[in-house]
């Protein structure tokens, strides 16, 4: 196998992994801090994709339409996420995990129908600006030029979240809440407020990921049900609540999938589930999680 093709396959895996990271990082953050297993996370990601399409169609005539639509979609989805937290999620903090799962699953179904009502069942397609319609050649390997943007966004979010958690006051509070929300509360920090903003931040990243995804292929109903399973695999592998874990988990899933397509296509998905199951058995708290949270 030529190096160029292996490199091309590696880049596909990297992009796939970083797309998964964008979806899974919000999911992991919300679970890590709030202990809410948000099954509707991928549906909010899909809403982000549809919103991005709407903004893009309003500015379609301009080459910058896509670049403006993506952050707008992230903000609009975050606003929707904020409403969800205040109206619904706030009421289920103290519920059992299975109850939370059922409620967030119901939310996913309701939001799915909401998408159908607002945008209809037709697939939505964003026409990319001409600058990213042609392939780019790196070391002789053809790469979708938009994927460079996806990779940059993925790493930017990873670095941004790391900086936020490591160097800001609110980041420290969030990290502390991952380990002991009672202690954080005892210090007089308003936990409900922190929860609301963490949830909003998680959904902002989901909306951003949806916006980025909208220019990769057509935006269609049901996309969310596929990606949510893989996002869960990522957080299980990396460890719930761990940013580094989510990044590494995403890259493992992306690259394993990509190279399996090349060498063992029938087993591409199976391999990911085998790894997930193995991690759950050997190290239930994930590669970078801590037994305390497990």
């Amino acid at each position: 196998m030529e190096f160029t093709f292996l490199f091309s396959q590696f880049m596909s895996g990297l992009t796939y992994g970083l797309m998964l990271f964008l979806v899974a990082s919000g999911l992991s953050l919300i679970f890590g801090v709030m202990n809410i297993l948000n099954f509707a996370h991928a549906t909010l990601w899909l809403i982000g994709a549809y919103i991005c399409f709407t903004f893009w169609s309003l500015m379609e005539a301009y080459q910058f339409a896509l670049w403006v639509s993506i952050p707008l979609a992230a903000l609009a989805t975050a606003a929707f996420g904020w409403v969800c937290e205040v109206v619904l999620i706030k009421r289920i903090y103290k519920r059992e995990l299975h109850e939370q799962l059922l409620i967030t699953y119901a939310m996913a179904l309701i939001f799915g129908d909401l998408i159908k009502i607002i945008w209809g069942p037709t697939d939505r397609l964003i026409v990319r600006p001409s600058i990213i319609q042609k392939p780019l050649h790196l070391f002789g390997a053809p790469i979708d030029s938009y994927f460079i943007f996806v990779i940059l966004i993925g790493f930017a979010v990873a670095v941004g979240l790391w900086w936020f958690l490591k160097y800001t006051k609110y980041g420290h509070i969030v990290k502390a809440a991952v380990f002991s929300r009672e202690m954080v509360g005892a210090l007089g920090i308003p936990i409900p407020k922190i929860y609301t903003w963490v949830f909003t931040l998680g959904i902002f990243i989901a909306g951003l990921a949806g916006g980025v995804q909208s220019a990769i292929g057509s935006v269609t109903l049901g996309m969310d049900t596929n990606i949510i399973i893989q996002a869960f695999c990522v957080v299980v592998i990396g460890g719930f609540g761990s940013l580094m874990g989510t990044l590494v988990g995403s890259l493992i899933v992306g690259e394993v999938f990509s190279f399996a397509i090349l060498y063992w296509p029938d087993g591409a998905m199976v391999l990911i589930f085998v790894i997930t199951a193995a991690i759950l058995i050997i190290r239930p708290w994930g590669l970078f999680g801590t037994p305390l949270r497990a």
């Binding site: 292996l6 396959q9 596909s12 042609k134 049901g222 996309m223 990606i227 397509i261 090349l262």
Partner: protein, 414 residues
């Protein structure tokens, strides 16, 4: 007295004139029902089909209607592309509007649901664009006719055309890319088996199975490109096919590897003229440009474009037009608008259509029409790409053997 006689004479003349005019006005119309999915997933195709039907009806009525004396009156209904609504609307058309024939639908599910209703009320039923072969293969109704190449014919035609292209271009190896669910698996298996039969020199290099609803095809794209097959045969569900196409385009995939397996009617060729990758090997049902040498097609295209502001007719418009003309020739052969006579006349009838002289196959009332496979390419004659290097696969090379139909019907009875 003279005045009274004259007055009486004028009165008699006026009355005679009135009755004559009334008699002409009262010429019995031929009520034609059109039940299509004007809303729902079939909107675009149904709208085009209706336009084709309307052009045919206008032409026929300009010459006095069917047999020159039965003007065609169209009753249009929306099935919403839903079987239950289709059944309800067709019943309305039959019972309220007294239609003698119904043209329906975009969705095969609707056509299958409507078939027994038409049979019960002895109304001619023409499936003009819905192409499940089960519309005519099993649960046979002598009142139901199909003027579109059915699903079996289209699948066989694709294999036949690929074999021809492979011989011509020296293709040896291919990769299959099929959605990982029942339809994708069974279609892929059928294609591979069929290609083994018609082109035994072709070898499958790799079988790829993206899951249904896959959103990230990049790994598949780069993987296929690294394998350098002579072509890819895709059996992807429609949405997945769009996603794959969109994700493969930025890699220049379609410039490098022939991609076989998608259906591109004139509707897609026009609406996606700017974005559709050139080089796709696509199948089509009734592209007008395949038969511009047939005077009836040339005339239809001219009249259609005149009526619809220069728009070119899609496959669906062509088949809608052909459905009306097939019915017209059935009525003429029967010498009557009586449905039983028309249905008997249409059985095995050879009809002159835009796609040439074609025959309804007696065993299943399926029109022995062609399928078309070509390579998406720009043509200076049209403002949209067409299917170039077009291969017309005749019914003789693509239809299901009669013995298999008999066997399927016997199995159905058990």
């Amino acid at each position: 007295m003279k005045f009274r006689k004259m007055f009486f004479g004028i009165f008699v003349l006026l009355m005679a004139g009135f009755f004559c005019v009334s008699a002409v006005q009262a010429a019995e119309p031929y009520n034609l029902g059109v039940a299509l999915g004007f809303t729902g997933t079939g909107t675009l195709y149904s709208k085009d089909q209706m336009e084709g039907i309307q052009v045919a009806v206008d032409e026929i009525n300009a010459k006095g209607g069917f047999m020159g004396k039965y003007p065609v009156k169209v009753f249009q209904q929306d099935t919403q592309t839903k079987p239950d609504v289709g059944v309800r609307t067709v019943k309305d058309l039959i019972l309220r509007d007294k239609v003698r024939a119904v043209i329906n639908d975009y969705s095969s599910a609707v056509a299958v649901a409507v078939k027994p209703i038409c049979r019960e009320y002895k109304v001619i039923h023409i499936a003009a664009i819905s192409n499940s072969e089960n519309i005519t293969k099993i649960n046979y109704s002598p009142y139901t006719f199909q003027v579109v190449p059915n699903s079996y014919m289209q699948a066989k035609a694709a294999s036949y055309a690929v074999a021809q292209l492979a011989k011509k271009k020296g293709w040896k190896e291919y990769v299959t890319l099929a959605s990982d669910y029942e339809w994708g698996r069974s279609t892929q298996e059928e294609v591979v088996t069929d290609l083994k039969r018609v082109a035994p020199f072709l070898k499958v290099k790799k079988e790829l199975w993206p899951k249904l609803g896959e959103t990230q095809f990049a790994s598949f794209v780069t993987s296929i490109m690294s394998m350098k097959p002579d072509f890819v045969y895709a059996c992807l569900a429609s949405k997945d096919n769009v996603t794959f196409t969109e994700q493969a385009k930025p890699y220049g995939f379609f410039d490098k590897i022939p991609y076989v397996g998608s259906m591109q009617s004139v509707t897609e060729l026009i609406t996606e003229a700017k974005t559709m990758p050139r080089g796709l090997v696509a199948i089509s049902r009734a592209p007008f440009f395949a038969h511009m040498d047939v005077p009836m097609m040339a005339n239809f295209v001219k009249n259609y474009r005149a009526k619809y502001k220069g728009k070119y007719p899609s496959d669906w418009a062509v088949m809608g037009y052909d459905a009306v003309y097939a019915l017209k020739q059935g009525v003429e052969k029967a010498g009557s608008i009586d449905n039983d006579k028309v249905k008997d006349a249409m059985k095995g009838l050879s009809v002159d259509l835009t796609r040439g002289k074609l025959q309804f196959r007696p065993i299943d009332n399926q029109l022995r029409c062609s399928s078309y496979v070509g390579i998406v390419r720009d043509d200076p004659k049209y403002p949209f790409p067409i299917l170039a290097e077009l291969i017309e696969i005749k019914a003789a090379d693509s239809e299901r053997p009669e013995a298999e139909i008999v066997a399927a019907r016997q199995a159905e009875k058990k």
